[in-house]
């Protein structure tokens, strides 16, 4: 087992990892940029090193400096959290070449699943349904037109290296397809230095359902059930929950098993998430694998009772999974709300500043994962997410009532947050009845 781990991240996930390590008797080395100097969570690590100025490119994304801190901190492993370098296969490679374990999947699995086209190939090998499409990069416009005819319009043009909606275009007919291909390709070249694009059937008003998996180095892979993340705004998840409401049990079983098959086929280990879209007839299609712990992992922790961060560390240290698929129980309903420092009245732009007053919700079934406190200053350099409010109750109805109660209690002053939007979402009949899809939030609020 590791004696000492470097936490290559900041904010709430750094705190989450530090907490897990301390309970496991593992020492932690934190790294921080000048913008995070003095943050309370750093004092909970056993050691903390400043690695650069506030800009992430000069600190949290500086592989050299992080490895250097790992070396002077004398750690055996690095936990990358999510974001920053978490899905950077090169970083994983450098860590391991320095004899520092990267707490995550093998580099090859990261690379293969990181590329959308090779990920589709793996899915096909595993017998996992993908959205009908070009099965590879578009090399010729006429080919694209023929494929679009065969799968039927509307079609989606996507960048192979893309993400977050960039390099993505919907084409409703041949004319817009021809125009869109060139535009998407150029955009992708600019954004990702990779002009490769491919075609997919455009699924209207889909739900986003993802499956949490974890595997060890001995071929054991289990799923920890699904999460629904259809409540999104500009491809940013706002609310995540488990179980996925209204998903028929047999669909749920199939989708979870597909995820296990897929990551097994990829030779994937450690924690990961298979993302699917689900159409209104409950057909589901594989989208991508997130090869890291996710923001919304507490949802799964609360319904399964399994500590995912600890399991990540154990698996990375070479331990076998302590459970089989049959041991994993799902009970109750957990819902997570991301609390962002954004100004809802100004296009949800970031709202950095000092929290001058903070009254947190609490009580039975309530967990608030956050590194902030009254007096904490949210810096403008990083993600606007300042915390995750997660509730777990026996039923979805009770979880929603609990969340509403928490939102009533929650006071944050000094910065603008998404709490007003959250109140609206949790009061909306279509959310309560779960008549939602990934376009719901943008259509409605």
């Amino acid at each position: 087992m590791f004696q000492r781990i470097l936490v290559a991240n900041r904010g709430e996930i750094a705190l989450r990892i530090i907490r897990a390590c301390r309970e496991m008797g593992i020492e932690t080395v934190a790294v921080y940029s000048e913008a995070d100097r003095g943050a309370h969570y750093l004092s909970l690590a056993d050691e903390a090193w400043c690695i650069g100025p506030p800009q992430a490119l000069e600190s949290y994304l500086q592989i050299k400096r992080i490895i250097s801190a790992a070396e002077i901190g004398n750690v055996q492993a690095v936990h990358p959290g999510y974001g920053f370098l978490a899905e950077n296969a090169h970083f994983a490679e450098v860590c391991r070449s320095c004899n520092i374990e990267f707490i995550g999947p093998p580099v090859e699995a990261m690379q293969q699943l990181g590329d959308k086209v090779s990920a589709r190939e793996i899915a096909r090998k595993a017998g996992v349904p993908c959205v009908p499409g070009s099965d590879g990069l578009i090399t010729d416009v006429e080919d694209a037109v023929r494929i679009a005819d065969s799968i039927g319009y509307p079609v989606l043009i996507k960048a192979t290296a893309g993400g977050g909606g960039k390099g993505m275009r919907v084409a409703g007919n041949e004319i817009s397809l021809r125009a869109g291909l060139a535009a998407a390709s150029a955009e992708a070249e600019k954004a990702f230095k990779n002009a490769g694009v491919y075609l997919e059937k455009y699924i209207e008003k889909p739900r986003h359902v993802e499956v949490q998996i974890i595997g060890d180095n001995y071929g054991n892979v289990v799923h920890l059930y699904e999460r629904d993340c259809s409540m999104q705004r500009r491809h940013q998840k706002l609310i995540e929950e488990s179980p996925a409401p209204k998903l028929p049990p047999e669909v749920r079983e199939r989708i979870c098993n597909c995820a296990v098959q897929l990551v097994k086929t990829a030779g994937y280990t450690n924690a990961g998430t298979c993302e699917f879209i689900v159409d209104k007839n409950f057909n589901f299609y594989f989208i991508e694998v997130n090869a890291r712990i996710q923001v919304e992992h507490p949802v799964t922790e609360l319904v399964t009772g399994i500590d995912l961060i600890k399991q990540q560390i154990l698996v990375a240290a070479g331990e076998k999974l302590p459970f089989t698929q049959a041991d994993i129980r799902h009970s109750g309903c957990a819902i997570e709300l991301r609390v962002n420092a954004e100004d809802p009245d100004n296009g949800f732009r970031g709202s950095p500043g000092t929290i001058t007053r903070l009254r947190l919700p609490g009580g039975p079934g309530v967990r608030f994962d956050s590194h902030v406190y009254e007096g904490y200053t949210i810096s403008p350099y990083y993600d606007s997410m300042i915390g995750k409010l997660i509730v777990c109750k026996p039923t979805r109805q009770e979880a929603i009532e609990c969340m509403r109660r928490c939102l009533h209690e929650f006071v944050i002053e000094g910065i603008k947050t998404t709490l007003p939007l959250a109140k609206k979402m949790f009061s909306h009949a279509d959310f309560v009845d779960f008549n939602v899809d990934t376009t719901f939030v943008e259509r409605t609020f």
């Binding site: 004092s43 056993d46 903390a48």
Partner: protein
């Protein structure tokens, strides 16, 4: 406390004369926030427009990165606490050369060699002042400041964090 509120001699009050002195010091040295406490009392003062609680911390006055030996519990707190206290009393005059990267500090090219610089050495911005080893690479560091070295703040072999002061200079 000291200054008696004359009518209630045994009542423990706050000494506002001391408080005034503190404010004068704060004003004089441009201190925006002070937190003082001893067994009996704790004073906390903030001046000027509402300040950032965790100031990206005047790096010049926040020299100590987490010391490798001591648990970091104290370390990250230290800069914030140290900053205002240091201002009136111990604020080291002069110019600081700080670490441009995290790594291991070496004063000399090799254990056999003399150090790049010593107290009294006059350096120019392009003078190599030390080596910082990061990822097995020995980076020669130019001081990027000019002056005469009056204090060397770390030992050869110490781990140093980004921004950590290494040398204090006085203008040559």
């Amino acid at each position: 406390m000291a200054k008696p509120v004359e009518t209630e001699p045994k009542r423990k009050a706050f000494d506002l004369d001391d408080f005034r002195k503190l404010l004068q010091l704060m004003e004089k040295y441009g201190v925006s926030e002070v937190s003082l406490s001893n067994e009996d009392e704790s004073w906390k003062v903030r001046r000027g427009p509402r300040q950032v609680a965790y100031a990206p911390a005047l790096p010049e006055f926040a020299p100590v990165a987490a010391a490798p030996a001591a648990p970091a519990v104290a370390a990250p707190a230290a800069p914030a606490a140290a900053a205002p206290a240091a201002a009136p009393a111990a604020a080291p005059a002069g110019i600081l050369i700080t670490a441009p990267t995290v790594g291991t500090f070496y004063a000399a090219p090799s254990p056999e060699d003399p150090p790049f610089v010593s107290v009294g050495t006059v350096v120019k911005p392009d003078t190599v002042v030390c080596i910082i080893e990061a990822m097995k690479v020995f980076n020669q560091i130019q001081g990027e400041k000019a002056g005469r070295i009056v204090e060397i703040l770390v030992q050869s072999g110490d781990a140093v964090g980004f921004g950590q002061p290494l040398f204090r200079l006085e203008p040559a």
